[in-house]
């Protein structure tokens, strides 16, 4: 045959396939296609139905607190704030992130209580959180979600999940089964150690005078490309006042949020952003262990929050405070909680995004009443 003959002309020299060989080839094609499909199902976790996934994590939050349409599956109750971060330039030797250059960065944020119930009554012993979003001048973003505990109660995503399940209310008694929690703690001695640290830490009287900790270790990368392990905290300028756990809240279900709103309306609230610089050998993959005392602390600037509003009117309600939205100059550490937090927050965000939004516990009119 000449090379110029059109492609696809039937080659008369090829003997026809026997029925057996034809079936064999068809079977071969079937095996190849099934193999490709199987590989994708494997990657998607279809053959490991008991592995912990973001969806199963959020399912557990929903089993504990129920499904509240439109709300975050954890840290469901909150109010939104805005203001700015004034950098003093001290952070530039640690990280090349634009947010640390001397100057102002706009910030929006959200204060919240841990837990999936958006209408839970305020209590001083509940975990307080703050999510912050920094709009960097070059269009980058830094998001961080911090809580007022000194360490995280657990080391791994699986331990967090087991802790969540152990604390799930029994359908009959509507209370967590203490035996389940004991079993969990017996299996997780690191959680017992972390709880000791958490219990020995005195709680402040409100959101406005709490220290908020990033807990997980991160890495800062400087202009030269050198990387160091860091942790960060927001330390209040407002003086510490110990929580008086015996004082009555006078029947106000939102007394801690109301106090926060009243104090912001009175005068802007401020926190120092403190960077703790880790030393070689400091654990970066275990947020349940504090770093030794005496680590270098760098005050890199002041956060000022001068405006507060209900979730219903703030863009912060529809923001996912994913702790791995980091600008150039900041990077995740090897802490396994970080990627898991990012994945689970994203799952929670996607589920609530399409749901009808119900009124928040703190409504716009409640904030307005305080303004008068």
């Amino acid at each position: 045959m000449s090379p110029s003959e059109p492609a696809g002309s039937t080659d008369n020299h090829t003997p026809p396939l026997t029925t057996g060989s034809r079936l064999g080839r068809l079977a071969g094609i079937g095996v190849v296609l099934l193999g490709v499909a199987g590989a994708f199902l494997y990657l998607g976790g279809w053959f490991t139905p008991h592995a912990l996934t973001p969806a199963r994590f959020v399912d557990a939050f929903e089993r504990v607190a129920g499904i509240h349409s439109g709300f975050r599956r954890n840290h469901a109750k909150g109010v939104c704030v805005s203001g700015f971060f004034e950098s003093n330039g001290q952070g530039t030797r640690l990280s090349k992130a634009v947010v640390f250059r001397t100057g102002r960065t706009s910030v929006i944020g959200r204060f919240s209580f841990g837990g999936g119930n958006p209408y839970v009554a305020d209590a001083r012993d509940m975990v307080r959180g703050v999510g912050l979003l920094f709009w960097l001048s070059d269009g980058e973003e830094w998001r961080t979600a911090m809580i007022n505990l000194p360490v995280f109660p657990v080391k791994t995503p699986q331990a967090f999940f087991d802790n969540l399940v152990a604390g799930q209310p029994d359908p009959q008694t509507h209370k967590p089964d203490p035996e389940k929690m004991e079993t969990f703690l017996a299996r997780h001695p690191e959680a017992v150690q972390a709880m000791k640290i958490i219990k020995s830490h005195s709680v402040s009287s409100g959101f406005e005078n709490s220290t908020y900790n990033g807990l997980n270790a991160f890495r800062f990368v400087d202009v030269g490309g050198a990387s160091i392990p860091v942790r960060w905290s927001m330390v209040p300028v407002q003086p510490f006042v110990a929580a008086n756990t015996t004082a009555a809240d006078q029947g106000d279900k939102n007394f801690l949020f109301d106090a926060l709103i009243a104090s912001i309306l009175q005068r802007p609230l401020q926190w120092h952003l403190m960077i703790t610089v880790g030393q070689p050998g400091d654990v970066t993959d275990d947020a349940s262990i504090p770093w030794p005392d005496g680590r270098e602390q760098v005050d890199v600037g002041t956060l000022t929050l001068d405006s507060v509003e209900s979730e219903e009117t703030s863009p912060a309600r529809d923001i996912n405070f994913d702790p791995l939205v980091l600008p150039a100059g900041m990077a995740p550490s090897d802490d396994p909680l970080l990627s898991a937090r990012s994945a689970v927050y994203s799952q929670s965000f996607t589920r609530r995004a399409g749901e009808t939004k119900k009124p928040s516990a703190i409504t716009p009119s409640q904030v307005r009443r305080k303004q008068r």
Partner: protein
């Protein structure tokens, strides 16, 4: 005798195999990342820039196709097969273009920063709206499954022609130079 082209041009074959590898990688990353805790961040960080590269490449590929001479369909293809082949090609081109745009749009609607690498990021192409995000996020999944099924059909049809009909179908897109006969 005028030599009729029996293979796609070198540039078309190059873009075909490059994008085939990228798309399979993307479908694999996509299905794995939504089920992963430990690797979620690393996979998402790869998924975003790869998707944008695909969006750029499909534009290049479409223009390249418009200005390239195409080999005729093999004589062994019935008119129905030719229609199916043309339709699936159109569908694949559409998906190559639309799927990255839906991804970019859904991140925009969720007000996520669209980080490609380091401080390099894209502007949002849609306003901040979580309802819009919810719709686009579902669309992204549905289009991914459609993409995968179209790929399986395309791959299966080529294997059938090459191994059963034995009309040298694969040679048309083979990475190497293949002479007919």
């Amino acid at each position: 005798m005028t030599a009729e082209r029996e293979q796609f041009t070198v540039s078309m074959r190059f873009l075909h195999w490059l994008m085939a590898a990228m798309v399979l990688t993307m479908l694999g990353i996509g299905v794995a990342m939504v089920a992963s805790l430990a690797d979620y961040h690393a996979l998402v960080s790869l998924h975003r820039p790869l998707g944008i590269i695909i969006l750029l490449l499909v534009v290049v590929r479409y223009v390249n196709r418009r200005f390239s001479a195409l080999p005729p369909f093999p004589a062994t293809m019935s008119s129905r097969e030719r229609f199916a082949a043309s339709a699936s090609e159109l569908l694949l081109y559409t998906l190559l273009f639309v799927q990255p745009l839906v991804g970019w749009g859904m991140l925009s609607a969720a007000r996520y920063p669209i980080v490609l690498y380091g401080s390099l990021h894209l502007f949002p192409i849609l306003p901040h709206s979580v309802m819009l995000y919810a719709v686009l996020r579902k669309t992204h999944t549905v289009l991914a499954y459609l993409f995968f099924l179209t790929f399986i059909a395309h791959f299966g049809a080529v294997l059938f022609h090459t191994l059963i009909v034995r009309d040298g179908m694969l040679d048309r897109m083979a990475p190497r130079r293949v002479r007919a006969g």
